[in-house]
C-alpha cells in the first residue's frame, strides 16, 4: 500500500481553535490561582500543552491502521494496567486511581484506557459488514467498553468510568443500532439505577441528593453547586470582580470549576464565546469524520467527538447546576497533565485519520 502523508493535510485550523481554548484556560488558571498556594500552575499548564502538542504530532505520524491492527494487544495491556491499579495502586482520598511511577511521578491509567477504547470500538464496528447491528454484536461491543468501565468503577471512580460510556454509545449508534436495541439500553440503564444507588458511596449519594435539592443544605454537600451557580450568576453579561473565585468560595477553580471561574470573570459573553469555540472544534471534528478514508477512521474521530462532548456536557452542566458534581474536568481548559495529554493524543489520532484521507 502506498502512503503519502503530508503536514499540508494536517488540520491547522482545528489546532488553532484548540490552542485558543487552551490559552483561555491558561489565562483563567493564572487568574484563579495567582494569590493561592497553587500559584504558578498556569506555567505548568503551558508545559503540559506544549508537551501535548508534541505528543499530538508524534501520534499523527503513526498510521492509525497499524494501531488498529494491534488493538487487541493494547486492549489487554489496558485491562492489565487497570488490574494493576486495583492491586497496587496508591490509595488517595479513599480511591485507588494512581500508580506510582519510578521518579516520583504518578500515572493514572484510566485516561489512556479511554484512547484504547476509542480505537477498540472503532476497530470492532469497522469490521462489521452488515448494515444492521446484530444482538451478538450489540453484546460484544457492550462488553468491550463494559469490562474496563466496571474496573474503573471499582477504584472507585464513577466520573471517569462514565466517560467510557459515550464511546460505546456513539459506536452503537453509528454502527446501526436499531430502536429495539436502543430501548434495551434505556431499559438496562433504568434497571441498573436502583442497584447502582445501592452501591454508591455516601459522598456520591450526597452529591446526587444535593444536586436534586441544593438548597436543602447549602452549607454542606450542596455547597459546591451553590457556590458555582453564584459565581456564574454574579458574572452577569459582561463579567465582574470575580470575588467568588478570588475569595476561594468557588471550590477548585483551576480544575473542575474552571468554567465557573471563567464565567464569573468574563460574563455571559465570554462564557458563550468559549462554548462557541468548543462547538466549532466539535463541528470541525465531525467534518473530519465525514471525510475519513474508511469506516474505522470515522469511528475513531466520532469516538473522540463523543468523549469531548460528554465532558463538556457534564462539566458545564455541573457548573450551571444542570448536573450533579462528578469531578469530571473540562477538557483543554482545566488544569491537569493527564487530561491535557489525553486530549492532545486523541486529537493526534484525529489528525492521523485526516492526513490519510486521500490515501487509496
Amino acid at each position: 500500500m502506498s502512503r503519502y502523508v503530508s503536514y499540508r493535510d494536517f488540520d491547522w485550523l482545528l489546532l488553532i481553535f484548540v490552542l485558543m481554548i487552551c490559552g483561555l484556560g491558561v489565562m483563567e488558571i493564572h487568574s484563579a490561582t495567582v494569590h493561592t498556594k497553587f500559584a504558578g500552575a498556569h506555567v505548568r499548564q503551558i508545559y503540559w500543552v506544549l508537551g501535548g502538542v508534541g505528543a499530538m504530532f508524534l501520534m499523527s505520524l503513526v498510521n492509525y491502521q497499524i494501531l488498529l491492527d494491534r488493538i487487541h494487544w493494547f486492549y489487554i495491556a489496558a485491562v492489565a494496567s487497570l488490574m494493576g491499579v486495583l492491586l497496587f495502586g496508591q490509595k488517595y482520598l479513599g480511591a485507588r486511581r494512581w500508580i506510582k511511577m519510578p521518579g516520583g511521578n504518578h500515572f493514572q491509567p484510566s485516561e489512556w484506557v479511554k484512547l484504547i477504547l476509542i480505537l477498540a470500538v472503532a476497530k470492532y464496528f469497522a469490521e462489521m459488514h452488515q448494515r444492521d447491528l446484530s444482538w451478538s454484536d450489540f453484546m460484544k461491543a457492550g462488553a468491550i467498553v463494559g469490562i474496563p468501565m466496571l474496573m474503573v468503577l471499582a477504584q472507585p471512580d464513577l466520573g471517569t468510568s462514565l466517560t467510557y460510556l459515550p464511546v460505546a454509545l456513539m459506536g452503537l449508534f453509528l454502527g446501526g443500532l436499531h430502536w429495539k436495541q436502543a430501548a434495551l439500553v434505556v431499559f438496562l440503564a433504568a434497571l441498573c439505577m436502583p442497584v447502582a444507588w445501592h452501591h454508591l458511596k455516601d459522598y456520591q449519594k450526597a452529591r446526587l441528593a444535593s444536586f436534586l435539592e441544593p438548597d436543602a443544605d447549602p452549607q454542606g454537600s450542596g455547597y459546591q453547586v451553590e457556590q458555582s451557580k453564584i459565581a456564574v450568576g454574579s458574572g452577569g453579561i459582561w463579567g465582574g470582580k470575580g470575588s467568588q473565585t478570588h475569595g476561594a468560595f468557588l471550590p477548585v477553580p483551576q480544575t473542575d470549576f474552571i468554567f465557573a471561574a471563567f464565567a464569573e470573570e468574563h460574563g455571559f459573553v465570554g462564557a458563550l464565546g468559549v462554548l462557541l469555540l468548543y462547538f466549532i472544534v466539535l463541528m470541525r471534528l465531525t467534518q473530519n469524520a465525514q471525510t475519513a478514508p474508511d469506516r474505522a477512521g470515522t469511528f475513531v474521530v466520532m469516538g473522540v467527538v463523543a468523549v469531548l462532548s460528554f465532558h463538556i456536557l457534564v462539566n458545564v452542566g455541573m457548573v450551571v447546576g444542570f448536573m450533579p458534581v462528578t469531578g469530571i474536568p473540562l477538557p483543554l481548559m482545566s488544569y491537569g497533565g493527564s487530561s491535557v495529554l489525553f486530549m492532545f493524543l486523541a486529537l493526534g489520532m484525529v489528525m492521523n485519520v485526516r492526513m490519510r484521507r486521500f490515501v487509496n
Binding site: G233, R295, F299, M302, V320
Partner: protein
C-alpha cells in the same frame, strides 16, 4: 482489508451533529438563565458571601460602690480558634497546638473531627478564655500555625471568693426560654445578660449595644478587607449604694458562718452592705460552668445560690418583740401593762414558759421597758393575748412583714405574717387563740427575711418612717432607664413620739448599765439593738428526735441593731443560721457597726459637723450586747418560749491601726486585667 466502501450512515452522523448542537443550546440556556435572567440575585448572593457582619461586642458597664470604687470590671478574654485553611494538615499540627494551649492532642483532634462537617469558612472554637502565655504562644506561631487565630471578647471580672456574689449576681448567655419572653425580644442568641442579682435587675443599663463591622472575607473566614464600621456603645456604669469598706467588714464579720448580714441607712433605704453565706464564685460562671459544678451548687443543703438577706424566710424570734411593743404602745395597752413573771404563765389552758427559767430565775415585776431589755416572754405573751392576732398582724403588716420590701433585687420573698384570714385562706382552718401567744414572741407561723427585720426595726427607731430599701439610687441610674418601682418609696407609720422614746430607750437599755446585771455600756456610741433566737423546728419534734435533733436543728440567731438609738444612721440585721452561740449574732453585727462608726470618724465633714467628740480617737471602745443562748432551754411546751437571754460586752480596738481603705473589691485590680 475491510469494508472501505461501506461508509458510515451520513444521516446518523448528521444526527450526532444535531445532538451536539442541542447539548450546546441547553448549556447556553443554562448560562443565560444564571447570568442574564437571575444575575441580580446571584450578584447579591456573591456580596453576601464576601461581606460578613462581624459583631463588635460592647463591654458591659462596670459596677461601682457608692464612692465610685470598682466592684465589677471587665477583662479582655481571648478564645483560641482554628481556621480551616485547606493547606494545613490539622491532624499533624494537633500535637503542637495541644502543647501550646495546654490541651490533650487527642482532644484537639477529636474537637476538629467533631466539627469537620461545618462549612469551611466557619472557624472551630478550640479553647475559651485562654491564658496570657497561651495567647503569646499563638502570636509567636503565626507562621508555623497560620490556622490558629484568636477572638477577643469582654468578660466579667467579679470579686474573688464570692465576695458580694449574691448582691451582684452574675451573667450568662441568654437562653432559648428567655428569648421567647417579650422583655428579651430585642436580644440575639449569644448575647450575655444578667441572670441574677444587680446584673439582672439593672441589665438594661449595664448592657451595651453591640456594634458591627462589615468585613471582606474569603471562604476561610479570613478577613481580607474592611468596608465600614458601626461602633459599639458600651454599657452604663452603675453606682450602688453599697459602701465597699462596710461590705468588706460585713463579709469578714461572718467568719465563714452560714447566714446573712444586711446593713442599711434607715433614713434613705440605701443598702450599705449585704452578705449571704455560704457563697459561690460568679467567676466560675463567667466562662462556662460545668454541669457537675452547677449541680453541686443547686443541690447543696446550705443553698449557696440563695441570697439569704432577701430570700431566707425564718421565724424572727425575740426581735419581733420590738414590733409587738410598737403595736402595744400605739394601741394604748402596753403603757399600763404590768406583769409578774414567775417563769411562765398559763394561757388558754396551756402553760407557756419564759426563757428565764432556764437560768433558775424569774423576772418578777415587768413593764414595757423591762420587757424589752430583759426580753421577758411572759410580758409579751400577755400583750399578745390582749392585742389579739388581728391587731398584731395589722401593725406587723404596716411595718412591712409578710410582703416584699420592694428592694431592687430579683426574687425577693415575702415571708409570712399570719392572721385569721391568712389561716382560713391557706389552711381552711379557724385561728386558734393559743397560736397568738407564740406569735407574740416571734414564733409560730411568723416568718421574716433579714431585710424585712432591718427595715421594720429601722423604721420604728426612726419614728415610724418606713423606707423602701435599694441598692442603686434612682438618681444614679442612666436617664433612659426607668427604675422598676415596687410600691411606695416611703411610708409613715403613725407613731406617738412618746411611744417611740419608750421603745428606743428600752432598746438602748439592752446595752446600758443599770439594766440586766451583766450588761455593759458602749462608750461614745449610741448603740441599741435587740437579739433573738428562733427555733427551726418545734420543741415537740426536737424532743422526739432526741440528741440528734438537738444537734441538727440548732436555733437561728438573730440580731438587729441601730446606731444611734433614735433616727439612726445605720441599721444592721444579722442572721446566723444554726448559730449555736447567740452572742455570735450580736458580735457579728457589732463588727459592722464598728466599721461604720470608724469610717465616720475618718470623714472630715463629719468631724466638722458638730460630732467633734468623735475626733479624739479612743484607745478602745466598749460595746455591750444581749443575746439569747438557744439550746439551753428544756422541756418547753410546743411553741413555748425558748429564749435564754445573755449579755456581755466587747472591747473594740479602734486606734491600734487604721483600717485600710479599699480601693476596689477584692480580686479586682485597677488595670482591669484578670489577676491570676
Amino acid at each position: 482489508m475491510f469494508g472501505r466502501d461501506e461508509k458510515v450512515s451520513a444521516i446518523r452522523l448528521t444526527a450526532a451533529q444535531y445532538l451536539i448542537l442541542a447539548i450546546f443550546l441547553t448549556l447556553a440556556y443554562g448560562l443565560w438563565r444564571l447570568q442574564v435572567m437571575q444575575s441580580g440575585y446571584y450578584a447579591s448572593a456573591a456580596e453576601k458571601n464576601r461581606i460578613r457582619n462581624v459583631p463588635i461586642l460592647a463591654p458591659r458597664g462596670k459596677i461601682l460602690d457608692r464612692e465610685g470604687r470598682i466592684i465589677v470590671d471587665n477583662y479582655p478574654s481571648f478564645s483560641a480558634l482554628v481556621l480551616r485553611d485547606t493547606s494545613r494538615d490539622l491532624n499533624a499540627d494537633a500535637d503542637l497546638i495541644a502543647q501550646g494551649l495546654h490541651m490533650d492532642a487527642n482532644e484537639v483532634r477529636m474537637h476538629i473531627r467533631h466539627f469537620a462537617s461545618l462549612p469551611q469558612y466557619q472557624p472551630i472554637f478550640l479553647k475559651e478564655d485562654i491564658t496570657p502565655d497561651e495567647l503569646a504562644f499563638i502570636d509567636a506561631h503565626r507562621n508555623e500555625l497560620p490556622e490558629l487565630d484568636t477572638i477577643m471578647a469582654h468578660r466579667r471580672l467579679y470579686p474573688r471568693n464570692g465576695f458580694m456574689a449574691h448582691l451582684i449576681g452574675y451573667v450568662g448567655e441568654v437562653t432559648e426560654d428567655m428569648l421567647n419572653q417579650p422583655q428579651f425580644e430585642l436580644y440575639n442568641p449569644g448575647d450575655v445578660v444578667g441572670v441574677s442579682g444587680v446584673e439582672r435587675q439593672y441589665n438594661t443599663a449595664l448592657m451595651g449595644k453591640n456594634g458591627s463591622r462589615q468585613a471582606l472575607v474569603n471562604s476561610h473566614g479570613r478577613e481580607v478587607g474592611r468596608l465600614g464600621e458601626t461602633a459599639a456603645v458600651p454599657g452604663n456604669q452603675l453606682k450602688l449604694t453599697v459602701d465597699l469598706d462596710l461590705q468588706i467588714a460585713a463579709e469578714e464579720a461572718l467568719e465563714g458562718r452560714n447566714g446573712a448580714i444586711i446593713a442599711m441607712d434607715p433614713r434613705t433605704g440605701e443598702i450599705l452592705a449585704m452578705v449571704s453565706r455560704p457563697t459561690f464564685d460568679p467567676n466560675d460562671f463567667a466562662v462556662r460552668v460545668s454541669r457537675e459544678e452547677w449541680n453541686k451548687l443547686v443541690t447543696d443543703e446550705d443553698h449557696p445560690l440563695l441570697n439569704k438577706a432577701i430570700q431566707a424566710q425564718l421565724a424572727p424570734g425575740s426581735t419581733f418583740k420590738i414590733i409587738m411593743a410598737a403595736a402595744g404602745l400605739q394601741e394604748g395597752i402596753a403603757q399600763d401593762l404590768h406583769v409578774n413573771c414567775t417563769g411562765g404563765a398559763e394561757f388558754y389552758g396551756r402553760y407557756f414558759k419564759c426563757w428565764v427559767v432556764a437560768e433558775h430565775r424569774v423576772h418578777g415585776e415587768v413593764d414595757i421597758t423591762k420587757g424589752i431589755y430583759q426580753s421577758c416572754d411572759v410580758f409579751f405573751y400577755t400583750l399578745a393575748e390582749k392585742l389579739g392576732i388581728e391587731r398584731i398582724a395589722k401593725y406587723a403588716t404596716m411595718f412591712g412583714l409578710g410582703q416584699k420590701t420592694g428592694v431592687d433585687l430579683p426574687q425577693e420573698v415575702s415571708g409570712v405574717m399570719p392572721s385569721e384570714e391568712w389561716k382560713i385562706r391557706n389552711f381552711k382552718q379557724k385561728w386558734f387563740a393559743g397560736e397568738t401567744i407564740s406569735v407574740g414572741i416571734g414564733q409560730g407561723a411568723v416568718a421574716a427575711t433579714p431585710i424585712q427585720m432591718a427595715r421594720a426595726i429601722g423604721a420604728i427607731a426612726s419614728g415610724g418612717r418606713l423606707v423602701r430599701p435599694h441598692v442603686a439610687n434612682p438618681t444614679d441610674l442612666p436617664a433612659n432607664l426607668i427604675p422598676a418601682s415596687n410600691g411606695a418609696d416611703e411610708v409613715m407609720v403613725p407613731m406617738d413620739p412618746h411611744n417611740w422614746e419608750i421603745i428606743t430607750d428600752a432598746m438602748a437599755d439592752v446595752v446600758n448599765p443599770g439594766g440586766t446585771a451583766a450588761l455593759s455600756h458602749l462608750q461614745d456610741i449610741d448603740f441599741a439593738g435587740k437579739t433573738g433566737s428562733a427555733q427551726t423546728i418545734s420543741n415537740a419534734l426536737k424532743a422526739k428526735l432526741g440528741a440528734a435533733g438537738k444537734a441538727n436543728f440548732k436555733d437561728n440567731g438573730w440580731f438587729v441593731g441601730v446606731e444611734p438609738r433614735r433616727n439612726p444612721e445605720i441599721v444592721v440585721c444579722t442572721l446566723l443560721e444554726e448559730g449555736e452561740h447567740g452572742y455570735l449574732a450580736a458580735r457579728t453585727a457589732a463588727k459592722v457597726v464598728k466599721a461604720y462608726v470608724e469610717k465616720q470618724h475618718r470623714l472630715p465633714n463629719k468631724m466638722a459637723n458638730g460630732k467633734a467628740a468623735h475626733a479624739a480617737p479612743k484607745e478602745r471602745i466598749e460595746m455591750a450586747g444581749v443575746w439569747n443562748a438557744p439550746g439551753e432551754t428544756e422541756q418547753n411546751s410546743d411553741g413555748g418560749a425558748n429564749d435564754s437571754l445573755h449579755a456581755g460586752h466587747f472591747f473594740l480596738d479602734l486606734s491600734k491601726k487604721s483600717l485600710p481603705v479599699a480601693t476596689t473589691a477584692p480580686g479586682i485590680a485597677s488595670t482591669g486585667y484578670r489577676v491570676p
